[in-house]
Symmetry: C2
Subunit: 247 residues, 2 copies
């Protein structure tokens, strides 16, 4: 038995998120369908570094699965891409140690959120950014972001409908830059709670607009109460950019 690790990209627009759901098109369903067909009907289950919501994209999601086939990485890549729909793409394949696990072995993850902060919408990338045509104070957004970097209890920045008890996470890096595709908020951390990136972005946008002051972000963090943070920004601006492992 071989354990296969894949780095995959998907454009989330036409999926009901990553995870299998009855009668819905999902990324997991589409990949498992192709793998099961390749294995002559034997069901193949894939495991990802984590799920993503409807409309959220991935540039570097990581999955793994087991197979009896002895294909070379490049043969896997070609066979899968030939059969997958055009909004999923296998970027690289590695044969890994059978103990590797795409979820349990994650060391850090990088998310990027793209904001189209222009007066005119760009319809060509409308599903890959959040159109936000209001003036923003970047200095204040940068300042507010500094409060979130480090190890904190992120209860205030987590969707309230979650089962997870331990809400302490570490953000190693957070930057806001202007790129050709828009304003990019990049966050690197050891893990992210449900909707955490989108709530952080929504809160920073409220700071940038002057709807709340910089210090309110520190206060929100300390309150450990979702109602102290800002709105959840929409999914289409969010990209799971990279997942890192020890090896």
């Amino acid at each position: 038995m071989n354990r296969i690790k894949c780095i995959i990209a998907y454009e989330g627009t036409l999926f009901n998120g990553y995870q299998v759901q009855p009668n819905q098109r999902t990324v997991q369903t589409d990949i498992e369908k192709v793998l099961t067909r390749m294995h002559k009907g034997m069901p193949i289950r894939i495991h990802a570094s984590g799920r993503t919501d409807t409309g959220v994209h991935a540039v570097g999601q990581v999955i793994h699965f087991d197979s009896e086939y002895n294909l070379e990485p490049d043969q896997w890549k070609k066979a899968l891409n030939a059969q997958l729909p055009k909004d999923i793409y296998i970027k690289s394949v590695t044969i890994v140690d059978p103990t590797f696990h795409s979820r349990f072995d994650v060391v850090q993850k990088e998310y990027r959120y793209v904001i189209w902060n222009e007066t005119e919408e760009n319809i060509f990338s409308r599903n890959q950014h959040y159109f936000f045509p209001y003036e923003l104070d970047f200095g204040k957004m940068q300042e507010a972001l500094q409060y979130l970097i480090g190890t904190h209890d992120f209860s205030s920045f987590c969707a309230s409908n979650t089962d997870i008890q331990d809400k302490v996470r570490t953000i190693y890096e957070g930057t806001i830059t202007k790129e050709e595709q828009g304003i990019v908020i990049k966050l690197v951390g050891n893990g992210f709670l449900y909707n955490m990136v989108r709530i952080i972005v929504g809160t920073l946008l409220e700071v940038g607009q002057g709807k709340r002051d910089v210090l309110s972000v520190k206060i929100a963090l300390e309150a450990r109460d979702r109602s102290f943070a800002g709105k959840t920004s929409p999914p289409q601006g969010l990209f799971l950019w990279k997942v890192d492992y020890n090896n």
Copy 2:
């Protein structure tokens, strides 16, 4: 009665082209539907600089229509964008002389064609480029393109199913550049025949790949026979970029 000129953008992926067709979603149908609703059911007909095919995009298509309403340009823009679907966008509105005609008054048009010439597909812009992962000789493509600039009978570079008799057109400018979104072939001319840009691009790609030599483009032009030119490249790489008028 006021004549209204609009510069519009659309992402062609989900349209069956520009022009009205029974039981099909088209750009013209969607815009006329909104205008007719605004005019309390009185049918409003729009006129474009020309049609575009299924999958072809527009960054600067021009349309005009007549209305009894005395709205300011910015009011028109806001009202239309509020009601139009997200893959059509009104970029600007001008109240023009009642003699202006978006099709008859065209002085020149600019088309751009985007080719993603990398070994790996970029799924995020897959509907806005032609994925062409083969090695290309740009020098030869540039050389071949020079034969097409100027005034010529473009019969060989026109889809055979056309009624138009006079196939003489002038290409004022033709360039091939490498941009972030891919290789961009830009053509500016006084008019373009049916599929002309896509046939020119398909032919240049065959030159770039070494499937035909540079001189074959000159020979194709002189032959005035569609079978002498290359394949028609796919629609999703094509953008109607700009339409110019005298005023």
